[in-house]
């Protein structure tokens, strides 16, 4: 190609502690081209984007913008070079309490050139122009953003990014929370923008979008560039370069512990998301199910219903053959349905508690006498047993939980729910931010101690579910689109099931 790249990254590397997130990554971003960036979770896509948009400083390597080497230390600097980013977490991009107009024209509103007296009509006029860029005229400009749906908030962020005339526009999973119709509108705009000479970097797990939009596909695997594909590409060959040639179909023996004569959990015509088809599923004694699918596929929504945090729309659930209808989380726990929630720091760890207190919290009743006074001796004994069983590395059971590494903290949280016998343990993304060794140990312990219970391990990362499951169930847009048994796993097919459109898969 004889065109000049608008932005080049050369030999980019980045480490977080002992983890090498990116290693020697090179990419050129050309004007008038849409480059799709793909890779499994943890492949380094987000890290690379965050470096280019100035969020991560302290990277290795060079960034060259318009033939000039630059040092990006803050989002503001990247922005001044014409690099605009729409991040995956939408709510970080909007100010909830402000109106749609103020959010659209945020840049103008916060600019130092604004008159001292706030001129809302002017802001509103400008917001109208920006809304036009994405055909958002249907939005009421004067309502606060927290009253409008996620998808509209996402569109606001995109419109705002377009309004600043970016040279390089980065979109991180822009379609994960918008409807297909809105996605179509977005794609039309993006292609138009590309044709006008903007360079676009598009990150998505949805491979069919990529085959439709991209001029070039960059593949990241384990922090390295695993290849660049040019047109024509198919979902098939993208998947192939994401997975690589090695360890195509990891073989894991099917466990003999499964007792198919005992159904622990049965879902009958369960509708757990509005307007989605009913789900029928049986989980057997001693079985570990891996539940996978992209963000928004409905995995966590199912978990919330099983754990009593949400009510199903219709259908029935049975635990050990008995009708199960939890009125609240406590009721689920009393029925032996436990859950290790996603996002350990926000949803599971009690930062001021020590290890023992973190483990024992759901079942304090086990340690009390008749007037609810806790027995330190009983508490220590149980906690020490779990710490040993799960190989938590710590000084004592009364060390602060925050003194542990991420992997060991996760072991503590898992130990919390494996301490007593259960009917079902749900682990929602249990391996996020967990090192490989801890991941293996947690998985091994779960498999060894599943006993008469059953487990659902939710993970977006295919390697994680393949590692641990007897059976893998794939969700896509709220629909169960397939299952595979350990021993006959077809990873490429799994990627197609998670990333394809429903029409492609079901027909």
């Amino acid at each position: 190609m004889d065109r000049e790249p608008i932005v080049q990254v050369k030999n980019i590397g980045m480490s977080f502690g002992a983890t090498r997130a990116l290693d020697n990554v090179d990419f050129n971003f050309y004007p008038g081209e849409l480059l799709a960036l793909v890779g499994a979770n943890g492949a380094g896509k987000s890290t690379l984007i965050k470096i280019i948009c100035g969020y991560h400083s302290g990277y290795e390597g060079r960034i060259i913008v318009a033939n000039r080497e630059v040092d990006l230390n803050s989002p503001k600097e990247a922005y001044d070079f014409g690099i605009q980013t729409v991040h995956q977490i939408i709510n970080q991009g909007v100010i909830q309490s402000m109106t749609v107009a103020e959010n659209l024209a945020l840049e103008e509103m916060l600019s130092p050139d604004q008159p001292v007296v706030y001129n809302y009509p002017a802001i509103r006029r400008r917001a109208g122009e920006i809304a036009n860029l994405m055909d958002l005229n249907y939005l009421d400009l004067d309502v606060p953003v927290f009253t409008i749906p996620q998808s509209d908030r996402q569109m606001i962020c995109i419109a705002r990014a377009l309004a600043s005339d970016p040279k390089l526009l980065i979109l991180d999973e822009p379609t994960s929370s918008i409807s297909d119709k809105e996605a179509d509108r977005l794609f039309t705009k993006l292609l138009k923008l590309r044709d006008s000479g903007v360079s676009i970097v598009y990150v998505s797990h949805r491979l069919h979008e990529i085959t439709r939009l991209a001029d070039r596909v960059g593949v990241l695997r384990d922090g390295k560039v695993a290849g660049e594909l040019v047109k024509p590409f198919s979902v098939q060959n993208i998947v192939h370069s994401m997975v690589g040639d090695i360890e195509q179909n990891p073989v894991r023996k099917k466990d003999s512990k499964i007792n198919k004569s005992v159904v622990k959990l049965e879902l009958q015509d369960l509708v757990f998301q509005e307007g989605k088809p009913p789900l029928n599923l049986k989980l057997y004694e001693g079985e570990v199910i891996g539940l996978t699918g992209l963000i928004g596929a409905g995995k966590s929504e199912l978990a919330a219903v099983l754990f009593g945090a949400d009510k199903p729309f219709s259908g029935r659930m049975f635990v050990n053959g008995e009708f199960y209808e939890p009125s609240c989380i406590r009721a689920a726990i009393d029925n032996g349905i436990f859950m290790v929630p996603e996002d350990r720091n926000n949803n599971a760890v009690f930062p001021e508690f020590n290890i023992l207190q973190n483990i024992n919290i759901p079942f304090l009743g086990m340690f009390t006498n008749s007037i609810s006074v806790l027995s330190k001796r009983k508490e220590r004994k149980e906690a020490a047993r779990m710490i040993k069983a799960m190989t938590v590395k710590c000084e004592s059971e009364e060390s602060p939980v925050l003194s542990l590494s991420g992997g060991n903290q996760q072991k503590v949280i898992v130990a919390r729910w494996l301490m007593v016998e259960s009917n079902l343990v749900i682990l929602d993304e249990p391996f996020q931010g967990v090192d490989v060794k801890s991941r293996r140990e947690i998985g091994q312990y779960l498999r060894d101690n599943i006993g008469k219970s059953t487990a659902i391990v939710i993970a977006t990362d295919l390697d994680e579910v393949i590692d641990i499951s007897d059976r893998i169930v794939v969700f896509n847009h709220g629909v169960m689109v397939g299952e595979q048994e350990a021993g006959s796993i077809d990873k490429e097919r799994l990627i197609q099931l998670t990333s394809g459109t429903l029409e492609e898969i079901l027909n």
Binding site: F350, E352, I361, S372
Partner: protein
């Protein structure tokens, strides 16, 4: 055991050492400070707000703040007086009624926070004004004592029962003040609940990470309401002690009770390096404030210095707790 570390040591023992040193200095400079009578005076001076601070501790632990306790205590004073002096109720029935009203105030605050979803600081600030205003209404804004003329021109003929007054003025063995014993009793009960039972563990869990608490099956809203009810209930008990000590219903008796109580509970963060609300620290914090005021008064400190010194102690204790320990922890 880890080897000796001066920062760890001062975080843990620093506050108690300062307190001990102050105690020694006061005793040396003013021998009368050390007399049994004076020591009980100190405890007597702290027992009202000290008791209230123990209730506030429940709320602080759940990461809330109750600004209404001063008003609730003052309301209890007025209601006690109104019931006994105007309506001529007996002491026992009065106590039950006042405590009941305390529970109702707490339930209402809990309702505002949990159901109406007003942020706790704002809800209790609003309730502070509301309850403070409420105390004036039964008596038409006047203080209530025997012989006071109430609204319709009738003289109030009732009086505080002796048993009721004993709660505020009595002394066991002619030395130990009854309200001090009540404060110590409340302190022990609160200590056991918060530090030894599963309920205390759950309160701390809610304060540490409410979402995680919900996901281990805790009914967070229920416990929050319980915390506010405990706080209001104990504040109304403190109001009873105050009414019993004064023997009449003075309007505006909340005075500096709220700030002293919250101050004591916050100073308690520094005791034994707890860095969080805790009943033992709260009671030590209250006694520390009382000791300091008493000692300085004996050394002829002028009254207008009081608030300044209390504030300085509070800021210093908080700086110590969050400044040093945080960096270290």
């Amino acid at each position: 055991m880890k080897k000796f570390n001066i920062t760890d040591f001062s975080i843990r023992w620093g506050f108690l050492i300062v307190m001990g040193v102050l105690f020694t200095v006061f005793s040396l400079l003013q021998p009368a400070f050390l007399s049994a009578g004076n020591l009980f005076n100190i405890l007597l001076s702290v027992c009202i707000f000290g008791t209230m601070a123990l209730g506030e501790t429940f709320v602080l632990i759940t990461d809330g703040m109750d600004l209404s306790i001063g008003s609730t205590a003052a309301l209890s004073v007025m209601i006690s007086a109104y019931l006994m002096v105007v309506l001529e109720w007996g002491g026992f029935a009065t106590i039950l009624m006042v405590l009941f009203i305390g529970v109702v105030v707490g339930l209402f605050i809990g309702f505002l926070i949990v159901k109406v979803k007003i942020p706790d600081l704002l809800a209790t600030l609003g309730m502070m004004f509301l309850v403070q205003g409420l105390q004036y209404i039964p008596s038409g804004g006047l203080s209530i004592g025997r012989g006071a003329v109430i609204k319709n021109g009738r003289e109030a003929m009732g009086q505080f029962s002796e048993g009721f007054k004993y709660l505020g003025q009595g002394r066991i063995l002619k030395v130990i003040p009854v309200p001090v014993l009540i404060m110590i009793g409340v302190a022990i009960i609160v200590y056991v609940i918060l530090s030894k039972t599963k309920f205390g563990r759950i309160f701390y869990a809610i304060g540490g990470n409410p979402e995680a608490a919900r996901l281990v099956g805790v009914n967070v809203n229920k416990y929050k309401v319980i915390a506010y009810v405990s706080s209001s209930f104990i504040a109304s008990l403190a109001g009873i002690l105050l009414a019993a000590r004064v023997g009449r219903g003075d309007v505006g008796s909340q005075g500096t009770l709220l700030m002293d109580a919250i101050g004591a509970a916050l100073i308690g963060f520094a005791v034994l390096g707890a860095r969080k609300p805790n009943p033992f620290g709260t009671i030590i914090g209250a006694i520390f404030i009382g000791m300091l005021m008493n000692g300085l008064t004996m050394l002829s400190m002028q009254y207008f210095w009081q608030d300044f010194i209390k504030g300085s102690v509070l800021v210093a204790a908080l700086a110590f707790t969050f400044g040093i320990s945080k960096k270290h922890g």
